[in-house]
Symmetry: C2
Subunit: 351 residues, 2 copies
């Protein structure tokens, strides 16, 4: 597999087909692991970094779950490709701050990816379409179990898996769910939801994870604590909270449709009109307007466009994706043109 | 002729066919006249008001220029029809503040109209499409001369025509030109233009005359002084100033097309997208967006829509017009829906 194949293929999580995929974009499990006998990455000497990169890579290459994977040495990648992989949610923005001794393994359907030598030696990530934390957990657990037989993990019977940052110690598990909550935003309920969620030990973030703002009504919810709980506890907990959020978003959508259908349709159609006609458009505005169209599709107001197409546009209109599609570097101004062209082209069919 | 026929006919000035009609919407001449031997309307007793209404009406009915006219007694009209006539620029908003003893005569092509017992006993108005002050003057002068043979005007050899407000004394003539100046707005030149124009003794107003704000880049320019100058002087003066404004707007459009074509096209297309999709829209937003589309048509960016259609939409989307089209009273909210429906319907053809 080549990295450029990813551009024209469809990631599993973009299909928009999983359970509750009208509201839940994707479900993700991330496991943080470190190798026994080696310092954590940020404290390690170059030779040790080189060794952990090699050891993990070798183990992955032997894993039955990752046979069709692509191994990438981060420092060999052009900047545009690094950004591209971040945009596809295959690795974290932090993984490319420093480039030495860092690797990424991408499974061929882009469901699983493994960062080597991010903050921890191993970060296994599994991303599923829709509300599917359990399936993501099953797959990450299988990969994890398989790898653990090939390389010894740093593990304490008292603390569990040891990690560079104490917040990850214990299960090393972070479950995240990306939600589309336009009705909760429109009706100003999102503030309360935020508060309630943080009291329950969960965090809410924007489209690109830690430190990013919510754009276009997309939110990512994750557990904050990993210590002192079993994996299934953590997964059950986030599952039941997401379930409540989904129900609340659904009932609010129903109320909006009953009481403010025309105002809602107006917002949705105007978003559609703008995307179908704009000649220059930023990434942020695109996400915001796509969010409204997605809502329009969910509510049966807009037809002729499918969720897969909209999910794809969310990703393809990002800076690195646009540049890879054009096969050249573009200034931000040039991207705003190309983005508008792409969106108009892709939305041609809809009515 | 019936008043309701006006709704589905096209006023001459809406045709968008006159000289420079890409920038000049319409040219208007208004003549203020009063009857000799009667107090000005606001000082007159009811019997005198009744007499002037009758005298002027009789004279008009005998005029060869106004044979196919419609006479309307303002107090007999439903409120919606009064507003309708104001929206069509056939009479002033002031003419309907008080309803007693007020008349309106509308010539069948809506080129000429005469208000009886507005501030002055007679206000002759001629409205032509495009930059055509001279033709408007010719026609108003012909009507005026004809009427003056039938009823004696209040005239002083020292002061000229005597009027209720001293600012109209002299020729009693106000020449107004409605301009569409989007390029001067976009490039922030309009402030300077305003200043220059008021130094020259002219005023600039919005779409609905005195006291209204400029909406959607439409401006009305009129002479302020009517005393101590001949009619042809006044007309020459406004003509030469409008000519300069038109040239400046034209050259600024050319500069914009050379330097910022894409940004301009983006604005125009977005306006188009919004009008083609909105489900709820106010009158002000409609005028603003139609202004951009008009510019797009002028510059060849948008095709399949003609200027007549756009001019028509400017008028048909006004509150009273909408209600007459629907043949019932509508709340402002209901109008915002109907307006959006009408605009979408009318813009169907364009691309």
């Amino acid at each position: 597999m080549e990295l450029d194949n990813l551009l024209h293929g469809k990631s599993e999580w973009l299909k928009g087909t999983g359970p509750k995929s009208d509201i839940v974009i994707s479900s993700r499990i991330r496991l943080a692991r470190n190798l026994e006998g080696f310092p954590f990455f940020n404290w390690a000497k170059p030779k040790e970094k080189e060794d952990t990169l090699k050891l993990v890579r070798d183990a992955i290459e032997k894993s039955k779950f990752l046979k069709k994977s692509l191994f990438l040495n981060i420092k060999d990648l052009p900047e545009i490709d690094r950004q591209f992989l971040v945009e596809r949610h295959l690795m974290s923005p932090e993984h490319v701050i420093d480039l030495e001794y860092k690797g990424l393994v991408v499974e061929d359907k882009e469901i699983a990816s493994i960062m080597i030598n991010e903050e921890d030696h191993i970060r296994i990530q599994v991303l599923q379409s829709g509300f599917n934390v359990i399936e993501a957990w099953r797959m990450s657990d299988a990969i994890d179990t398989d790898l653990s037989k090939k390389i010894p993990y740093a593990f304490s019977t008292k603390w569990g898996y040891l990690t560079a940052c104490p917040t990850n110690t214990g299960t090393g598990l972070r479950a995240s769910v990306m939600l589309h909550l336009p009705a909760l935003i429109i009706t100003n309920q999102i503030g309360k939801v935020f508060q309630a969620i943080s009291k329950l030990g969960l965090t809410m973030r924007g489209f690109y994870g830690e430190g990013t703002e919510a754009t276009g009504n997309f939110f990512q919810i994750s557990n904050q604590v990993t210590l002192g709980r079993s994996e299934s506890d953590l997964i059950d907990k986030i599952g039941s909270i997401v379930d409540k959020l989904v129900k609340r978003e659904e009932s609010t959508r129903n109320i909006l449709m009953a009481k403010q259908k025309d105002e809602l349709a107006d917002k949705i159609w105007r978003a559609y009109g703008t995307l179908k006609t704009a000649r220059i458009i930023t990434s942020t505005e695109t996400i915001k307007l796509l969010s409204f169209i997605r809502l329009g599709v969910d509510l049966g107001i807009v037809s002729g466009i499918d969720r897969t197409g909209l999910n794809e546009l969310l990703i393809l209109t990002q800076p690195a994706h646009l540049q890879k599609l054009e096969n050249k570097l573009l200034t931000p101004d040039q991207r705003d043109y190309k983005r508008a062209d792409l969106v108009r082209e892709k939305l041609k069919g809809g009515t």
